[in-house]
């Protein structure tokens, strides 16, 4: 099966282990969420996959071939990182031109269309763009490029709510039209949750969890009602979080809802962000 596969990938910065024997796969045609707290190793992993950094140990394969300095395989990956790697003097139009030259099959018409939708002037130099528009021109490049693997590291950095909505919509439309592997590394979990098919959580440089989004969302539930009744119900259960307003309380519980739930309590669907926060807190790994 076609995929990006990491086997035992490690990366050390001096004494710091940024990645510790990470093994995972990004399979063909799926949207992945790569989640993790700050410093968990997400960006380092993406850098190692794309050869921007050399892993201290382990191997990265793209469609079964080693990716390290293998241009044929590296051309299958377009990685939009947080760092500005385009020359400051380059205009957005030139970015499109050169991306087309290097990757081939760049959809210039679609890119120009997206520029119009997002209100981006492609004649502008990349260094003259605001933080938000710097993300936007890179996102447009990623959407218009003809690569089977798209890695997006904090893609909506600096984007306002309207542009974020537009991007998520465009991403889904693009994916529906041309299914490919998309890896979203983001801190805005709540916003991206509805897009994700699979979730990989990195914690302290290790893979903490790799499940489908549905599996994760069914691993817990919320319960709300009168404070005293909720308190009585959650006693002895694995509570991920709880919140009280007035006399009412909502708690997020890990596990499956009981069949004989008190009639006075309401149950609801788990929130991916709350689960993520709970899992990555100290001793959170015990939830798994």
């Amino acid at each position: 099966m076609n995929a990006i596969t990491c086997t035992q990938v490690s990366k050390n910065f001096g004494d710091v282990k940024a990645l510790d024997q990470v093994s995972l796969s990004f399979e063909e045609g799926k949207i992945y969420g790569l989640l993790g707290r700050n410093g968990a190793g997400k960006t380092t992993l993406l850098n190692c996959i794309t050869g921007r950094m050399f892993p201290t140990g382990g191997e990265v394969y793209v469609d079964g071939e080693t990716a390290l300095e293998n241009e044929k395989e590296l051309k299958k990956i377009f990685y939009m990182g947080q760092q500005e790697l385009y020359p400051e003097e380059m205009t957005v139009n030139k970015v499109f031109y050169w991306t087309g030259q290097f990757y081939g099959g760049f959809d210039l018409e679609y890119a120009q269309n997206l520029c119009q939708k997002f209100g981006l002037d492609p004649k502008k130099k990349t260094s003259k763009l605001s933080t938000g528009y710097r993300s936007i021109y890179k996102l447009i490049t990623a959407l218009a490029v003809d690569a089977p693997y798209i890695l997006l590291d904090e893609p909506v950095l600096g984007l306002d709510a309207g542009h974020r909505e537009m991007f998520y919509r465009e991403l889904l439309e693009n994916y529906a039209e041309k299914p490919r592997t998309i890896v979203l590394s983001t801190h805005l979990i709540e916003e991206a949750a509805s897009l994700l098919e699979e979730v990989i959580i990195l914690h302290n440089g290790r893979v903490m969890c790799h499940k489908t989004c549905e599996e994760l969302l069914h691993s817990g539930y919320t319960v709300s009602g009168k404070q005293s009744e909720v308190d009585a119900f959650i006693a002895g259960k694995k509570v991920l979080s709880q919140q009280s307003i007035g006399g009412l309380k909502t708690a997020v519980i890990y596990g499956k809802p009981e069949e004989d739930m008190p009639q006075t309590l309401e149950t609801g669907r788990m929130d991916l962000q709350k689960l993520f926060v709970a899992m990555t807190e100290e001793n959170g790994g015990e939830l798994l």
Binding site: M53, E69, E71, L74, I77, Q83, Y86, E88, W98, F102
Partner: protein, 245 residues
């Protein structure tokens, strides 16, 4: 490699034309002013294309690595392709510079007393030597001078890119300190003139002024060897270079 060369040459085109325009403008201005002064029995000569292109290539080497490396990494280009792309581009640039410098010198020579560095250095060969052979030698001399300076700039930029902050400080202080202060002092007190002898020999290699005669192809060969050494060093530094923030 073809695409990386295309990118390099594309990004060099404008700055090269600018450097050429500036030196052409300066040469014409000085030529006109000095020619009118010649009528008052003042001797004059102008030059500068070779030197301008040599400095231009050195600066190009210095500034070419970081930005291009990051851009190529963004586009999934292997370090090997980047390196060969640069090597080809530098060779093309040096050859173009040599041709442009010689042609410009010849054209300006029709109107002014233009004497390029090569003609000044090897004046004695001009009258006795074969003109066609001299032209080839001039081309190779300018081309190789540009080439070695381009590699020098590129390898220096790579060295600084790879070094840590402390390493950069140490190299910045130790290299000039050793070459210009420590070694001359040591030469005076302990080395018995060996360093000065070495510099003299290096000077002979660079100019081709050897005890047996004047050989313009000696500096060409020396530049070629130095370029090869610098290219190998550059590759060794580049093959493990990573994108830094």
């Amino acid at each position: 490699m073809k695409l990386t060369s295309k990118y390099y040459l594309n990004s060099l085109r404008n700055s090269f034309l600018m450097a050429f325009g500036i030196i052409l403008g300066l040469s014409l201005s000085f030529g006109i002013v000095l020619r009118s002064a010649q009528s008052e029995n003042l001797d004059y000569s102008i030059s500068g294309f070779e030197l301008t292109f040599m400095i231009f290539t050195l600066v190009t080497g210095l500034v070419s690595f970081r930005e291009s490396f990051r851009f190529f990494q963004q586009n999934g280009i292997s370090r090997k392709s980047q390196f060969t792309g640069w090597a080809v581009s530098l060779l093309v640039l040096s050859a173009v510079e040599a041709v442009v410098a010689i042609l410009s010198g010849r054209v300006l020579g029709l109107f002014f007393n233009y004497r390029g560095i090569f003609n000044q250095l090897y004046q004695t060969l001009q009258t006795s030597g074969n003109p066609a052979l001299l032209l080839v030698q001039e081309f190779l001399w300018v081309c190789m001078a540009c080439l070695v300076l381009g590699w020098a700039g590129f390898s220096f930029a790579l060295l600084y890119y790879r070094l840590s902050k402390m390493g950069k400080i140490l190299v910045s202080i130790l290299v000039p300190g050793t070459l210009f202060i420590l070694l001359p002092m040591a030469d005076q007190h302990f080395l018995g003139g060996s360093y000065a002898w070495l510099l003299e020999k290096a000077g002979m290699l660079i100019t081709g002024y050897l005890p047996g005669g004047i050989y313009p192809m000696v500096p060409v060969a020396a530049a070629l060897v130095c370029s090869a050494v610098l290219a190998v060093l550059s590759w060794l530094m580049m093959r493990r270079a990573e994108v830094r923030s």
